[in-house]
Amino acid sequence: MTSTAEISLPDLEPNRPLTLPLQAEVTLPNGLTIIAIQRPSVPLVEVRLRVPFAQAPLAASSVLTQTLFSGTSQKSTVDIAAELQTVGGGLAAALDPDRMLISGNALTTGLDRLLELLAEVLHDATYPATEVVTERDRLADRIQVALSQPSHLARVALLKRMYGDHPYAVQTPGADEVRAVDPEHLRLLHAQRLHPNGSTLVLVGDIDPEAALAIATDRLGSWSGDGAPIELPPSPPLVAGPLVLADRPGSVQSSIRIALPAVPRTDPSHAALQLANLIFGGYFSSRWVENIREDKGYTYGPYSMIEHSVAGSALIVSAEVATEVTGPALVETLYELGRLAALPPGEAELEQARQYALGTLQLGMSTQAGLAGLASTYAGSGLRLNYLAEHAIRLEAATREDVHRAALQYLAPAKALLVVLGDAAKIREEVSAIVAVTP
């Protein structure tokens, strides 16, 4: 190695401005809102159809996502898949407690055909008996596999602890419940809930937004069905209490999960809370990750993030740690939360987190899929992409005091709701020495 003079870190050039893409929007008489966004980077189009699905029965809704494309009066599963493929396309449905999301993409030239097939399914999905049995069995098997995964089990325990009787408490149906769903349930659910009213279709890609609106209007303007919008009650406030210790005998790691309160995207303190979360554990260069991974080697991929749902938001802290360091890892986690709640962050670490948050906005907007995801997610909270520009201004403006106030209010360990999944026989004693434990 040659000896080189100390080379100094290059400065950043001036920030490029955050510019919003060309877009157009319409709400049709049937209640469907269509947002078309131009991002001509590759000759593709991304499609997201968000349909409100609050309070829908969980097992039937889950099976519906797997059978929506299983046939119409004119086409079989294979016909639908083959015709989508012909235009370079694909479509799939997914569920959360707020909505069903139908996602897909195609070559730009296939947009009209993809929407025609989507419309056919929305109008005329038949839920054929054989396909329903196949798909519900597959889903039941996947649920059984999920139950052997620590990340899933920890999530299940955490949601139950957080939400009690609220619909957010259980987000995966039981395998037996899934096997009991029959085609008639699905047809009824489809008729009751797959409605244009309140739904949002997002199209992003190498498209002329106005022309794309015209195509989508032509294909989905006759989508019918009605029903009053169904809303969830606000999610209940998190109630702190003893740490829930979920036993997984023989586990070589413990899954630590912590839930803390958070505010929705539209709250004036959201930007400050986002920055507080980053400084605590929300990115690699955070206090917590530098501590428990880069200093102590307790864990590989710890993360902390704000999860926004329609009926409420929460901050979720997650780490898989070696069984033998469960206690120390928990202590460091609570310490880092408490430190940020007790003392304002430094100027440099705030600036670093701020730049990261701003950069993430630019990167998130730089792909078709990224823009489609943002536009669809925001639409679910009544927001549009201009939120990105407004949020950037709020991130720029947040002060150390704002961030400290947010941390004091939301990252306080006294408000933490704790779950640890692990080998209880090995970890109970040391975890109990740190916090009260149940059972």
């Binding site: 599963t77 493929q85 102590k296 899929a369």
Partner: protein, 432 residues
Amino acid sequence: MQIPRTHYQVERFTLPNGLRVVLSPDRSAPVIGVAVVYDVGIRSEPEGRTGFAHLFEHLMFQGSANLEKLAHFRYVQGAGGTFNGSTHLDYTDYFETAPSNALERMLFLEADRMRGPRLTEENLANQIDVVKEEIRVNVLNRPYGGFPWLKLPPVMFDSFPNAHDGYGSFTDLEAATVADAAEFFDRYYACGNATVSVAGDFELDYARQLVEKHFGDVPARPAPARPDFDEPDLTGERRKSYVDSLAPLPAVAAAWRVPNPITRFSDYLPYVVLAEVLTDGDAARLVERMVLKDRIVTSVGGYLGFMGEPFEVRDPTAMLLQAHLPPQGSADKVLATIDEELDRLATDGLAAGELARTQARMATHLLRDTDAVLGRALRMAVLELQRANPALLNDLPHLIAEVTADQIREAAATMRPHRRASIEVVPGGGEK
């Protein structure tokens, strides 16, 4: 359906120290992707040091000539960017994506560690712990951990480079020393053994100057000779099984050797398409037959290379098919059905439209993978490293579309049971 073409500008040059450079400007969004790829991977790690290539990748983030530990992460993220690295069979990549005003900073960071990481006992011990936790998360504490990418190579291959566990045994990881790391760096992390690629929002001449400024004085060291890792093809079926104590349901994966992806690219491409004909979506042959009709599997997937990267792998490699089975499912039956479907395809050929629709969908996947500037930078860096042809990225959708039905039949006809290696997961797990 007309397959569209991308027209990414691709500029290649080599610095006097031997570093190969690819620049691909695209001003459509104010972001950049930077990738540095070294021509060393899991196959090159020494016996007794399984997992070392990956462990070393972690050490490349622990400080370098002008940077303290943690500085790399902070400087990337403090510029609004994200970073990572990953270790593959034939290469190791390091990358950042960030707003374009951070371009020079990213180049500085990569150049600095190309001059040499800070290798200390403390950092080594720390990262051995981190890597062990990574292996626990991804392999030891979950069902189907390492299936099939760690479990199938030892069935198919005989030589240490191709057969061993690339994540590494805890014994080998714990035995690693700072001296091992220094030697590994000296041998493999030469700038003559690397490529750097930048895609995104920059002006070509300006980026070229920045690359020359930061990488130009990295000491020249030649690339080590790359061994030929080839092994003879199988002449008889190989089959193994193992009990996964966490898995609740059976699974099976099978692999067949394919032509050299670099030197016989046109013979190799039909296999890339064949994998999709068999498994991409509900209209694909094996999905229709095994998932929807016979219901002997709950999912089936097919891909090229043990890490599923058809255009980033060297010889010897394989086409893989893997399936998850329902309770009491029979791996024998699954393998027999695959044989039957391959035979039918080889004998009767494709249905009308079957190939064209598969190729159209593959074009979408390829275009989508490289929509992000980082995806483009990474693929171009590896294409330069392995093929000296980063502009191949622009051609791939069309090359895929030019594969003929006869080539698919011929490819299917080579996938006979006597050339097959397979591994079966026997469930040992309940619901916990």
